[in-house]
């Protein structure tokens, strides 16, 4: 700590001493406050995770994992269909989002001139900042109304719109980290530019690209707002892509607001499963991208 002041004359000593101790005191108070702020932020995660995991696991059992939902009042019943629903929606969203996001990332990193690249990057950032409920309303207007039905596929599109900018930005950033000497070396061998990109540049950026994809997956797995008016939720299980479908996040929302304790308990169990899925992916991503730097 650098907390010593300049030495003064004898008559100044007294004054200095007082100013000095006041400054030292302020220093200590502010530093402690900063530490406290960090502790509060970390405590929030511990509280939310703690409640969701401890409550969730106490309500979790094999029935919940393997059975379909039953009407209120009947014992048993689970969320098998919603677990499937979440997986189906995540796969659908990824299938739609990956080509758009990856190729847009490649275009910005490899082909676009700097001004165009900056403009597209900006667009992607803006798209990423669009509230997810607005995306839900948009997809409702362009897909659900014309198709006259809520559907899994419209929910997949909504999730894809949320995932595209995440994948595009991370893909572009990791492609640009590949040294241009590698591109030049590949082109010097006489292969075409696209083969250089696909065969040399993309493999070099693979860790970053996969990190981005996983981040996108973690993000859309927990999304609820864009599903409200697209997937809707379903009591009849998975009936195909053109019919409404349930998801863990929708189940948590509906059951959390339910007056029945049995459904509230299922909401906590669902939260446990969703947290394991989402945080599991996030932690793996973090671990993998840390390893890359070492």
């Amino acid at each position: 700590m650098a907390d010593d002041s300049l030495e003064g004359g004898k008559e100044m000593n007294n004054l200095n001493e007082r100013g000095h101790s006041r400054r030292k005191w302020l220093n200590r108070v502010m530093l402690v406050l900063c530490g406290t702020a960090t502790a509060i932020a970390m405590l929030m995660l511990a509280l939310i995770l703690g409640y969701a995991l401890i409550r969730g696991i106490s309500y979790l059992n094999l029935t919940i994992l393997t059975q379909a939902a039953k009407p209120v009042g009947e014992t048993g019943g689970g969320m098998r269909n919603e677990i499937f629903g979440t997986l189906i929606l995540v796969v659908l969203g990824s299938i739609i989002a990956l080509p758009i996001g990856l190729l847009a990332g490649i275009y910005v990193a490899e082909y676009a001139n700097p001004n165009v690249a900056a403009a597209i990057r900006f667009t992607a950032d803006i798209l990423a900042g669009v509230p997810s409920i607005v995306v839900g309303v948009f997809v409702y207007a362009v897909m659900v109304i014309p198709m006259h039905s809520y559907s899994a596929i419209s929910a997949g599109v909504a999730l894809a719109i949320i995932m595209v900018p995440i994948v595009a930005r991370t893909a572009e950033e990791s492609l640009r980290l590949v040294p241009s000497s590698m591109r030049e070396a590949a082109l010097a061998l006489g292969i075409t530019r696209w083969r250089a990109i696909v065969g040399v540049v993309i493999p070099g950026a693979m860790t970053g690209i996969i990190t981005g994809i996983m981040l996108g997956v973690a993000r859309i797995a927990g999304e609820t707002a864009p599903l409200l008016f697209t997937a809707l939720g379903s009591q009849f299980g998975v009936q195909g892509l053109l019919k409404p479908i349930g998801s863990l996040s929708l189940l948590i929302y509906h059951y959390a607001l339910s007056p029945y304790p049995s459904q509230q308990r299922q909401a906590w169990a669902g939260a446990f499963l969703l947290i394991i899925l989402v945080l599991g992916i996030s932690i793996i991503v973090r671990w993998a991208s840390n390893r890359k730097h070492i």
Binding site: L45, A104, Y111, I133, A225
Partner: protein, 327 residues
């Protein structure tokens, strides 16, 4: 093709027509670059389509109410009259509560992570705070509804109501309402404000700190007078970025705000935000003016977050550009 180039073509795995330069490349190259361009246009097109479709579908409401949509407090599906003022007010109020709580905590945490924490602690602590951002909004809402709201109702609102005569701390303690929504928003925007502020502070050159220490400044004085002013732009950008998140946040807020459509000064009162109104009413809206009004709400929310995000991105970019220039 010249003979010279044919020689080069002996080695590559497939005998494609090849060239070093994109200027005169083969068909496959054209196809690939156009393919990437095509998908880029799709991405940009999504944003354009979003603006177009929302404007088009909001027309019934825009035609009927015009500007009075922004000033009317009425939301009456029976008479088919709608106004956005309570939702706009609720959105701003809950976001401001969130910012007032989140900004000091995020600043403190960022300062701790950059300036104070030893290396072994800074990494894991950053990680923990970032994980907070990964928790799905609906789970934060569930936690808020069953854990936070009871605490807000009993000690917090009772206590605040007794101790202060302030008008916004009056009224019966419901638990669900603006205060709970603001608290959840604070939790949800702390990670982003902390992370962006932390990166901005890291961009401050070390000379800046050393010069201050050399003058005999304490550590806090160094942070306060040399580090924070230097990265002001980045910090303001971080806060505005957090604001953008808070304005559009839907699930957690919908679950704890009570969805009561009225204007009130009390923070304890149930209310509504733009996002929560859409989330709770869109499903039951009949076509026409009702749906049009909800879509106009979505359009307003989109417009506001767009402006807020553009400002934030510009500020944060200026800060990182500064860093790049210094290097």
């Amino acid at each position: 093709m010249s003979i010279k180039q044919d020689k080069h073509n002996l080695t590559p795995p497939t005998s494609m027509q090849s060239s070093r330069f994109s200027g005169h490349s083969g068909y496959s190259d054209k196809i690939f670059s156009n393919l990437t361009l095509f998908f880029t246009i799709i991405m940009v097109g999504i944003l354009v389509a979003l603006v177009f479709v929302l404007s088009r579908d909001a027309m019934p409401a825009i035609d009927k109410f015009g500007f009075s949509f922004f000033t009317s407090t009425m939301w009456n599906p029976v008479k088919d009259i709608y106004g956005a003022l309570p939702a706009i007010y609720g959105t701003i109020l809950s976001s401001l509560i969130g910012l007032v709580i989140a900004v000091p905590i995020s600043m403190g945490a960022a300062i701790f992570l950059v300036e104070l924490a030893p290396q072994w602690l800074a990494g894991p602590a950053s990680f923990v705070i970032e994980m907070l951002a990964a928790i799905p909004s609906v789970i934060i809402g569930l936690w808020g509804l069953y854990v936070l709201v009871p605490v807000v109702r009993n000690p917090i609102e009772k206590w605040l109501g007794h101790l202060s005569g302030l008008p916004f701390f009056q009224g019966p303690p419901f638990g669900v309402g603006f205060l709970s929504a603001g608290l959840l928003l604070a939790i949800m925007i702390i990670p982003i404000i902390t992370a962006v502020t932390r990166d901005a502070m890291k961009a401050v050159p070390h000379e800046q700190r050393e010069a201050m220490y050399a003058l005999g400044a304490t550590r806090w004085e160094t942070i306060n007078k040399a580090v924070l002013p230097y990265c002001r732009t980045g910090i303001v950008g971080a806060v505005i970025l957090g604001l953008g998140r808070a304005l559009g946040e839907t699930m957690a807020v919908t679950m704890v705000i009570g969805n009561s459509y009225k204007l009130t000064a009390s923070l304890f009162s149930p209310g509504a935000t733009i996002a929560s109104t859409i989330a709770s009413q869109f499903g039951e809206a009949t076509a026409g003016v009702y749906t049009g009004s909800l879509i106009e709400l979505a359009l307003i929310l989109f417009g506001v977050t767009l402006i807020v995000n553009i400002i934030a991105r510009t500020l944060v970019w200026r800060m990182t550009a500064l860093k790049a220039a210094k290097k």
